[in-house]
Amino acid sequence: MASAPSKQYSDDVSLLMVLLDTNPFFWGGTNTTTGVLSFSSFLTHVISFLNSIILLNQLNQVVVIATGFNSCDYIYESSTSEAIIVNSDNGQMPALCSKMLQKLEEFVIRDEQLSKENSPTGIVSSLLSGSLSLALCYIQKVFRSGPLHPHPRILCLQGSPDGPEQYVAVMNAIFSAQRSMVPIDSCVIGAQHSAFLQQASYITGGVYLKPQQLDGLFQYLTIQSRRLVPDMGMICTPTDPHKPNCATYP
């Protein structure tokens, strides 16, 4: 007897960890020339993108981690069952948005309180190493939960410049991602390229992308995420011509 034909698709479940840069110094625009993209329209693109991931497979999981200036934290987990039930009380706002925005606000306030003690000097980078580690911890937890787990992937949405003092920590995170075969995709929305993320994507086999037109961020993200599905080796993925020089010391 032929087995169910759908078997071949059952393995395209993915776990996407999205690292959101919420650095106020970047989004405040004091430091960079974002111009085109405001934080709210950035979020709109990202939320649509998250919806599209969840739409593709009901088993897909999305976890959002906010990368702040002083701290980082989990903002949203699609696997928690609350996410489904919440939406009935406030008619208009979809569950994903309302929950995420609320947590995001709490996070930003907390992050701000921490920063009062030390006012920024020099490069105002986000805590990328911290959020990468959080993402890897989460993935490890999923790996250990059972023999069957979704394909994990990390997507860094980074705007702030690299923080040289985080170099060792970031590289350690990258190597640990490489060891556990977790690709790190990166999408740089800031003005300059990120050497950290170029290396991260290069070493882990992810895709590094620096969109030219930020108002089409959603489309960039969907194209980049083509490889979320195992079959996608088949598809031509755009890659940035910038090959990182592997020994970039800050």
Binding site: M1, A2, S3, A4, P5, S6, K7, Q8, Y9, S10, D12, I47, S48, N51, S52, I54, L55, L56, N57, Q58, L59, I84, I85, N87, S88, P94, A95, L96, C97, L148, F218, Q219, T222, I223, R226, V229, P230, D231, M232, G233, M234, I235, C236
Partner: protein
């Protein structure tokens, strides 16, 4: 006897088989769009996403450039599927160039989804009205119980403790192809019936639902309505209560049948009544046979052909009885033995030992204690013996053939032998006494050849 092939066919194949007009109407419903999208092969999903904000037709040629050369066959499959489900609409322009665009309804619904996120088809009732809802475990055991009850009624009507509300004609429809009746004997399970019992719950459910849908026109229910309702049902949250009044007339009659199958649980409060979808319902649109839904096994087979099944289920007992001698039954344990006689009666019913049959049943349902061992779940000597007993039955193979003798000379005989060999029909030759046997299908050729000589 009509040959009914049991395949856990995908729900979407049924959707794809609907006439175009009805299919387009189905896409008015966001949940159907969502379910259809999720059922697509990975590559096709990506294409839909890619095309989601493209309003003009994209030529087939430029789409081909999206894939690397070795992915081309998958590309073909994806495109075919998309067209079959009318997610892509194909058009050919004057220059004979084919181009595709997304079905506008489908496109609109998905765009809405991306902005608003997933919502539930209907709001659950507040817990103040529904006093005590069953817990998820209770609900699951209810669903399995209900399903087992239905199966038992299906395979042996006398055995079931309580019968479901399905009319006997409906049951007969379900039984078609699974059971065969010879004269006045009690109906016996056919080969496909046995395979049906060995499939996992999800696959069985599909089979029944499929029969249910294809039979719907006789009950004057539009299959498209039925399909859309079933798909919608699968987007409800498991364990939540939903008011029956939100359903229309047709759906209310459907939901009663579904309750019999264990897809939903019906409950009644003081004034209102509601339905609670179970896991079976919410798994409906899931690309089936996920190994995550594997049930816990219960069978231990020992090297001495003894079989211990830790199960309280009558259904399990009935299934085991098909190929094993049940010796005694304790409240939670069925003890039996696999014997030559019991297997012969199984083979007699057309049940085979290989492929999705006895051996794989024993392996799939192995008790976790056995399954976790490094050794094979079913001892090798047992599986080997089962196979040997089966081949015993197939020792003689019958081929229709023709016998030739009285050849005038050795030369003619040898030429005839060569000719038969060339045509792949020589079965036996005896050169001393000049006799040979050829397959019946080349008899004509042989005769022509010999007459020419």
């Amino acid at each position: 006897m009509p040959q009914v092939k049991i395949i856990a066919k995908n729900f979407m194949d049924m959707v794809a088989a609907l006439p175009a007009l009805k299919l387009d109407k189905l896409y008015d419903n966001t949940f159907i769009c969502e379910a259809v999208l999720r059922s697509l092969p990975p590559l096709a999903k990506k294409y839909v996403l890619q095309m989601l904000y493209v309003d003009v037709p994209v030529t087939a040629k430029s789409m081909e450039e999206w894939v690397l050369a070795d992915g081309f066959s998958k590309h073909r499959v994806a495109i075919d599927r998309l067209i079959q489900l009318r997610v892509f609409l194909e058009s050919t322009d004057r220059k004979k160039e084919t181009s595709y665009r997304l079905n506008p309804k489908f496109q609109g619904n998905l765009q809405k989804y991306l902005v608003h996120g997933g919502v539930l088809p209907r709001d659950p009732m507040s817990s103040s009205i529904t006093v005590r809802l069953p817990t998820l475990e209770e609900l699951e055991s209810y669903a399995l119980n209900q399903w087992e009850c239905f199966l038992l009624q299906l395979i042996s009507s006398g055995q079931a403790e309580k019968t479901t509300n399905f009319s006997s004609s409906m049951i007969e429809v379900f039984q078609r192809g699974l059971l065969s009746q010879r004269g006045k004997e009690a109906p016996r399970l056919t080969e496909s019936g046995f395979q049906f019992l060995l499939m996992d719950t999800n696959a069985q459910l599909w089979y029944i639902i499929r029969e249910y849908i294809s039979n719907s026109e006789e009950r004057r229910v539009d299959p498209a309505d039925l399909i859309s309702f079933l798909l919608e049902l699968s987007f409800h949250a498991t364990g939540q209560a939903y008011n029956i009044t939100t359903l229309n007339e047709v759906q209310r009659s459907i939901i009663k049948d579904l309750a019999d199958l264990g897809l939903v649980k019906l409950q009644q409060g003081r004034k209102e009544s509601w339905f609670i979808p179970t896991k079976l319902a919410t798994n409906l649109s899931v690309s089936l046979s996920d190994s995550s839904s594997r049930k816990q096994g219960f069978v231990v087979v020992e090297t001495n052909f003894r079989l211990y099944a830790y199960s309280t289920s009558k259904l399990h007992c009935e299934i085991l009885r098909l190929f094993a001698r049940i010796e005694y039954q304790l409240p939670n344990l069925i003890v039996g033995a696999i014997t030559k006689e019991s297997l012969y009666s199984a083979f007699d019913n057309g049940i085979t030992s290989e492929q999705a049959s006895i051996i794989s049943f024993l392996q799939q349902n192995a008790h976790p204690r056995v399954a976790d061992r490094a050794a094979p779940a079913v001892p090798e000597n047992v599986t080997d013996q089962i196979r040997l007993w089966e081949t015993d039955l197939n020792r003689v193979e019958i081929t229709p053939s023709h016998f030739y003798d009285d050849f005038p000379s050795k030369d003619v005989f040898e030429a005839a032998c060569d000719y038969a060999r060339e045509n792949g029909g020589l079965l036996w030759e005896d050169s001393k006494r000049m006799r040979l046997v050829v397959k019946a299908d080349i008899h004509g050729l042989m005769r022509e050849y010999l007459q020419k000589k």
